[in-house]
């Protein structure tokens, strides 16, 4: 075991897979010699060679087209999109191509690629460096969508994503790279080293896709969250004294419905939390599924705490961010008789 922050854990996942599988190649804007703007690919080119970890032109559509072609050849490409906000020029290659290739070719061709992209706010990135576009991808049949919340999971999930034979979109909450963030932005930043999830094995291990984790056991209300919001949800539970059970989804598609349903049936209450905008957000899908599966167990309406339906406004970061106060209010509302 070594103590790693989330960027180091992701780096270790890629390092492990480069050593393990000669078909793994890693590329993206600034990922080669420089090691990525968030340092996630630091030293990998020096260690594994320029033809395995390399820079690309600033062309997200071209990057993912390359990844599809490499996947068709038989490689396992890992492409970095520098910010999730930049992924839109590549939507056609992801949605119409990578996600549909196995289906349209009757299983002959597939694109086993992994797309890594830092997402979410909390770093004053403004509207083009803060978005959480995961719901766009969960809506696409044929794509898997993964969002880790801590270093241990990040490494294990990224290894699973690289080994997966289907295309995986892997969003990395950039505010979590250096330390957990519970939304208390006025408090000093806590490094990962103080938390058990920063204890990461140096070698190979995996965390399966499609399995949620219960990060806080409780009996009053179920909180369903992922990414940064897992830490916010735990902080809100501590603030209120409400005995919340907090579920970290880890994978949005395929979704671990069983863990959610079992918890909500036990607590009878549910709060869904995500940083992304509300309308047609993944919370809407979760709410519908919980209603379909747990209708007779619900003792209050399902609450959603999300980012507002606006672009991410730079100078109003903390008015936008669904922090622990907002989650705490929802927890109290759902507990009202």
């Amino acid at each position: 075991m070594t103590t790693m922050n989330m960027a180091q854990a992701l780096n270790s996942a890629m390092d492990t897979m480069l050593a393990r599988d000669p078909n793994v190649v890693i590329f993206g804007e600034d990922v080669g010699y420089f090691g990525g703007v968030f340092r996630c690919t630091a030293d990998l080119q020096q260690k594994h060679g320029v033809d395995r970890v390399f820079d690309t032109p600033v062309a997200e559509g071209g990057i993912l087209a390359m990844a599809v072609g490499m996947g068709v050849y038989g490689l396992r490409p890992v492409a970095e999109i520098q910010f999730a906000d930049y992924i839109y020029p590549a939507i056609d290659q992801l949605v119409s191509e990578a996600a549909r290739l196995r289906y349209r070719s009757g299983g002959e061709f597939s694109a086993p690629l992994t797309v890594r992209a830092p997402s979410g706010g909390g770093i004053f990135g403004g509207q083009t460096h803060s978005q959480s576009p995961e719901a766009l991808f969960t809506h696409v049949c044929g794509l898997k969508t993964v969002i880790p919340s801590n270093p241990y999971d990040a490494k294990g999930l990224l290894i699973s994503a690289i080994e997966d034979d289907d295309p995986v979109v892997f969003f990395e909450p950039k505010r979590l790279y250096n330390g957990p963030f519970d939304g208390h932005h006025e408090r000093p930043v806590q490094p990962w080293a103080k938390y058990p999830a920063s204890e990461v094995p140096e070698g190979y291990y995996s965390v399966p896709l499609g399995k949620a984790a219960i990060v806080r056991r409780g009996s009053d209300v179920t909180v369903v969250a992922y990414g940064t919001m897992v830490h916010v949800a735990v902080a809100a539970a501590e603030m209120t004294g409400i005995d919340a059970e907090v579920i970290d989804l880890r994978t949005l598609v395929p979704l671990d419905i069983d863990t959610i349903v079992a918890s909500v049936k036990k607590t009878g209450r549910c709060v869904i939390v995500h940083e992304a905008t509300r309308t047609s957000g993944f919370g809407a899908e979760l709410s519908a599924l919980i209603q379909e599966n747990c209708f007779y167990h619900l003792e209050s309406k399902i609450e959603r705490v999300t980012g507002w339906d606006t672009p991410y406004p730079l100078a109003f970061e903390w008015d936008y961010f669904p922090g622990p106060d907002r989650v705490a209010k929802a927890l109290r509302r759902t507990m009202e008789p």
Binding site: P57, G62, G69, P89, R104, S110, G142
Partner: protein, 419 residues
Amino acid sequence: MNPENREPLLQPALKLHIPEPSARPGSAPDFTHLSFAAAGAVRRPQVSETARQMQDLAFDLIRVLDDTGKAVGPWRPDISAERLKHGLRAMLLTRAFDERLLVSQRQGKTSFYMQCTGEEAVAVAQAAALDSTDMLFPTYRQQGLLIARGWSLVDMMCQVFSNSHDRMKGRQLPVFYSSKDANFFSISGNLGTQFSQAVGWAMASAYKRDHRIASAWIGDGATAEGDFHYALTSAAVYRAPIILNVVNNQWAISSYQGIAGGDEATFAARGIGYGIPALRVDGNDFLAVYAVTRWAAERARTNLGPTLVELVTYRAAPHSTSDDPSKYRPSNESASWPLGDPVERLKKHLIHENAWSEEAHVALDQEVKEEVRVAAKEAESYGTLGKGPKPDRSTIFEDVFKEMPWHLRQQRDELESEQ
């Protein structure tokens, strides 16, 4: 500023330019804008020449066959009469295949069909010039690649009929073939996406120190897509072993090549700005297409990188069975196309070489039509879109993912519970 208060201007007002083709329905076809030198007149550079050194090739038109059917000039390829006859057969077979399936569409056996009439030399000569292990990333108008590679006509027809033997299980638009065994990539309806993907495949082949190269096709219309730019940029940056082919058949449904940018420069000339050597070739001249493809393949195989090839041809048929060209181009435009018909030109050449005859040609045409007839009968026995049988409907949930997740199993059960 209020227009009334503005100073009178000396310059004329701005004017928006909307390009228009040289002829529309009701007027005489006009191809005077398409100027080209005589067969044999264009030089053949060394494969090591740079894009800058060989800029002239992006504006000239490489032609080998002259009007008498004689092969002339430095691009005259070293290819046997037997192989040319094989190519002629594949072109005739492709044409017969198209004719038969066009009728099948009218009979309701499929919903849709796309012919490549007049463009057969593009796919067939290029397939002949490549190795069978090279990977092809085609558009929907290169069915000749599969046919030239000897792929089963029955298998192709089953795809068009969406029947019980369709390997794509009734999911894909007719003619959107896929054949991993023939190294023929799955065709997409989102135009241009294969062009940039092919570069990734070629990079992978180089990364693995393989010997296989990639060849990709795109239409003149789709060169305006971002994927064309992505492909040329990444092919140049990583010196990918690939041939990037632009099939300029003059028309993108109803938009003539000027709307795609073809009035201001040739499509081949796009390559120069990326540093990619570019060739412009008479796409209806089987020998010229073969020679140019061999030249580009040699560059790719010797780590010299990509070549952009513009194949100048004419889409003699409608875009698809859903299209009516009489609404937007002169009805006799095809007959006026100055580069002729690829089948007729190769036939003339073989007769000129005393390797072929009118009688042999008629016999071959009968032979391929019979081959298509027999294949169609067999394919129809496995079903047609109109009458079935189709693959089992529960298969629509397969291949979305490698392993079917719970939500798709649930939806499959829901469909199966319906009567």
